[in-house]
Amino acid sequence: MKKLYLLLLASVLSFSPEQLQAQTAPPKTFSVAYQNAPLKQALTELEQKFGVKIFYREEWLTGKTVTLNLKNATLPEALQATLAGSEYVFMQYDAANVVVMPALLEKTSEGNIAAVRIRKDDIAPKVEIIGGPRIAPRNQKLTLKGVVKDGKHNEPAIGATVQVEKLGIGTVTDINGNYELKLVPGKHEVSISAVGLETQKRTIQLNGSGTLNAELLDIAFNLSEVQIEAERKNNNVAGVQMGVNRLSIKEIKKMPALLGEVDVVKTLQLLPGVTSVGEAAVGYNVRGGNADQNLILLDQVPVFNPMHLFGFFSVFNPDVVQDLTFYRGAIPAQFGGRLSSILDVKQKEGSYEKVQGSGGIGIVSGRLAVEGPVLHKKGSFLLAGRSSYSDWIFKKLPKASLRDDQASFYDGTIKFSALLSEQTKVMASGYRSHDSFGFSADTIYSSSTTNGSVSINHIFSDKFILNATAFTGDYAMNIDFNAPGNEAQYASGIKQQGFKTDLLVRQGRQKINVGGAATYYNFEQGSLVPLSEASNINADVLPLERALESALYLNDEIELNSVFSFTVGLRYSFYQNYGNGAVLNYQSGKPKNELTVVDTAYYGKNEVVQRYRGAEPRFALKYALNEKSSVKAGYSRTRQYMHVISNTLTISPVDIWKTSNSHIKPQIGDQVSLGYFRNLKQNTIETSAEIYYKQIKDQLDFKEGADLFLNHQLETALIAANGEAYGLELMVNKKGGLLTGWASYAYSRSWLKTNSSFAEEQINEGRKYPTSYDKPHNLNLVLNYQLTRRLSASANFTYSTGRPFTASTAFYVIEGNVVPYYADRNQYRIPDYHRLDLSLTFLTNLRKNKKWEGNWNLAVYNVYARNNAYSVFYRHKYGSQPRVFQLAVIGTAIPSISYNFKF
């Protein structure tokens, strides 16, 4: 039970130990016998006999029976016996309340079962005995006095009403919050209320004169939930992992967002070690890694493009996301395939209890999610969708030339889950997102992601848990050219079909994950096809590339003792690139170009062209200095077999995913990291300091001016470079209290160096150069303050060094055209970036048992309207000097309002 922590929020604190002792004594023991009786019935009887309230989720007990024979059992014994043989355990929350929960929840840190929630209202009222054990004579007037305080500010509540409604007796508190009331002995229900504070009803057994103090809480305190978290509260210090962040969607929703669109990916960029090349950039860079080195999993299925409209909003619907886990340090062996980070986004399961929903209306999009039980509460569904109405926005634009433009997106999620038995759960989910935009009616860009998965979760025992997932995914990019005479469609994409399985074994102090994964990829590298007979465009299709990526892994987390724990993991990955036609061979010892082609080899459809394989060891160690602080170290090697081919700073519509093949080697990353972790104030403040050093082998860069579009000899345009990155990350995270949030600072550098000896395959003559995302100083502040129960305010501040860019140091004139001349790559920096965002969230309805819960969110992005440079470029206007300009994507403060609701 020690692993279980309760997040007791505000109101629950009113149950003090004195009150518990004062309770009327329930029977100490109980005898009963059941023969295949419903489990629920047994628990109900225990509730009655022992005078306690037992909390559980209905669907856990449905269809379950119990056979047992109890003789003079105490409450714990009775509960233990009743729940033995089920996968549930209990926890005595206090003398009057017991919580039943899945054993899994207690033990795993993955927490894949929704947390148990108990509303304060449900907790059984207790009778407080005042004035000693012996009751006074019936007609004696007794005095009940006490102090009423405002619980939040710990100040006297002046003018609060204290009354016994049944007797019509009442009084108000004085300037010090004191009151005094004359009452007859006996049982009374005292209600204490004050303006703006929540009314408290207390049941007392008045035996003699005595004291009843009360602390009243703000009405809007919507925190009256007891939440049992799957994660250890001191995980920051006690866990082995480092470089990990978990964020719940609740935290993310509080943050100010651009145009009110809650954005998972933008939130990620506020964590230390995560940067991006600028506003509205697709993807992000983690610890000096390229944007294609991040694995993004949405319910276990890789997502290739996390952004809508190429950079403005993320594709994750905030109503559906449950939480996200982000690994940027030593990645556990369960994950692989990308070098720099893993973003594991979990979507929630539908409710097993009742039909409910949520949604929102913002400036850019509207969304709706509905969930509820199916199969007699043994299953659940979730349907969610989000769609932009931005075409409408274009029509409102001041520039009429833009009114022909279009930009729209939608995404949708469908999810079913069913409990096949007590131990087996099956889930099926589907996801689709789509974007479409056009600069003119002539050229329309669209992209879509279509993913589906089926997974099964089986608990053999609390020692063996199996997870298996089969998935399919399709990421497609299209460009439609509609100009008369040139009708054509360009398409590229990547398809994947995969399977993965994981077995969790608990053995003493060890937690072992063993499993494997295999994914078959189809890389559509680009095709241009005429759309009509009359089109003058010739078909040009790059051959499909195919590959199989597979891996086996073993990860063992060992808690040696309270001081030492460590994780050893090994992932072994295999990669096979299959043939589909011609493969060019180049002269060895020469740079690859059109002139050095020696011959062409032909491979059949399933013939292996190239194989790669390799071990990926992972290691993590924790040494506890004391209960509150620890030192951790980690090492990980990762291999990446697929690459985004891009010569732009951020992912653009014509970029493609490319497989490793005979010419393109896999990328290999090695990272070592060391950290110091310390928690303060009962684990409510977490602090950490981490340093890391990382090497990357064979990251792809491209030759100057290379044309990557429909290039049949793409390898001749690419250059392999080795990378190096290092940094320091400091973070303070305050998790409890009225003020929550974090502050982080990171110093980080990242470099690349081409390793070819040929001048044409070198960048900056083979010297190391900073990457486009090398931003040494990064400071982030994320704050949320609960002003009143209804109102909370949030602020984000972010500062980072300007990214490097290739500056033009001179210009020249050719045939009257002024042309910038570029010196070495990435030798100059754009101005520093900083921005403040603010938001206010206002709850509209605070009544209990509300059917509809709404909130308004007002946000201002870029409050002080800074013109943050996005890029620096050169332009020459006739008759003036050629000049350097900077472009700011967002040059002003962007206010927004959105309304969100739950029902």
């Binding site: 001041p398 009429a400 433009d405 003058n536 472009l887």
Partner: protein
């Protein structure tokens, strides 16, 4: 077919979020001046010109002394070993004698430049290929809807100059188009207003001149490879857009388009140049790159040389746009002054007018 994606994001950004472009002061290190060579030989009659200049520093465009490279020895040699020397006609502008050499289809030409300080540069050999004829050269009115400062929707008309051609299917072809246009302007020098001693405007009619011709050159790269339409017709290739305004279209307007068959190297050079010139600063744009020159210092291949020497076949077509060709009249040009004050204007009637 050109990909406009690089503009798209800028536009998205502009339209949604009021993006902002402003000048930026960039401190750059002092850099040595690099040699810029630019020249072309075609199968049209000479003279052929080669320009030798150097790079400029930012902020020095008007103040710096002329960056022309003078007193160099410049020669063009063909595959037979025949060679002509170009004479320096103006500072940094070297020309062949018009009768000394004429480019031939199939000829292979090399440029040599020897500077006064002894540095020797040589171009790669360029083969002159024949240019397919321009099938049709025509103009079309292109309305573009905009909103003025008062937020009224207005339609601004442009005249698109378009070319149709037929691509030969047997080889890779690389096209470049250049354009010359000449138009006649009529102004009102008799309505000129001067100012008296007190600064008040007073009529001060001028006698001359009300009729001028203005010639302009459009020399942006404007290149295309036949990769996507090899052997097919190329329809409505846009050469340029001229605002449909009285200055340009009050009288007739002459357009001459030259279609050049360039080499792949020249195509890459101009394409990169185009991208650099059209830069909008979007991160979706290809990273900046220098257009790859085909000229190098023989003794020091590391030396960065800029510019390109091309050999290209050329075909030409020209036509007049009459003021009422589009059914609407652009209007009368109001300019109460001597027309020679307009940039590039001359009173000399062109021979073809």
């Amino acid at each position: 077919m050109r990909f406009k994606y690089k503009n798209l994001f800028l536009v998205l950004a502009l339209s949604w979020l009021s993006s902002c472009i402003k000048p930026y002061d960039l401190e750059v290190e002092e850099q040595e001046k690099l040699l810029v060579v630019n020249g072309m030989i075609t199968d049209e009659p000479g003279p052929y010109t080669v320009n030798l200049t150097t790079t400029f520093k930012y902020g020095s465009y008007f103040s710096d002394i002329s960056p022309s490279v003078q007193q160099a020895t410049v020669t063009i040699t063909d595959e037979t070993g025949f060679s002509v020397k170009l004479a320096e006609k103006y500072p940094g502008v070297y020309q062949t004698d018009s009768s000394a050499i004429r480019g031939r289809v199939g000829g292979r030409y090399t440029l040599r430049v020897n500077l006064r300080d002894g540095k020797q540069y040589v171009s790669e050999t360029e083969e002159l290929r024949s240019a397919p004829p321009i099938g049709r050269l025509y103009a079309r009115l292109k309305p573009v809807v905009m909103v003025n400062e008062r937020n009224d929707q207005v339609t601004v008309n442009y005249v698109s100059i378009l070319v149709d051609t037929k691509d030969p299917g047997n080889e890779r072809n690389f096209y470049r188009w250049t354009m010359n246009n000449t138009y006649e302007v009529t102004t009102q020098p008799g309505n000129f207003m001067g100012v008296d001693r007190n600064g008040r405007p007073v009529p001060a009619p001028k006698d001359c001149c009300h009729q001028c011709w203005i010639s302009e050159k459009n020399t942006v790269g404007n290149v295309l490879s036949d990769l996507q339409f090899n052997g097919n017709a190329l329809i409505a290739r846009e050469i340029t857009n001229i605002p449909f305004k009285p200055q340009y279209f009050q009288n007739k307007h002459f357009v001459e388009v030259r279609q050049l068959a360039i080499s792949e190297g020249a195509y890459n050079f101009w394409k990169t140049l185009d991208d650099q010139i059209a830069g909008t600063g979007s991160v979706q744009e290809p990273a900046p790159a220098n257009a790859v020159s085909n000229i190098k210092n023989e003794a020091n291949e590391q030396e960065q040389v800029l510019g390109y020497f091309s050999a290209a076949g050329a075909s030409k077509k020209s036509f007049f746009i009459q003021p009422f060709d589009f059914g609407v009249y652009a209007g009368s040009f109001v300019f109460p002054d001597d027309c020679r004050l307009i940039n590039g204007a001359t009173t000399k009637r062109p021979s073809f007018w």
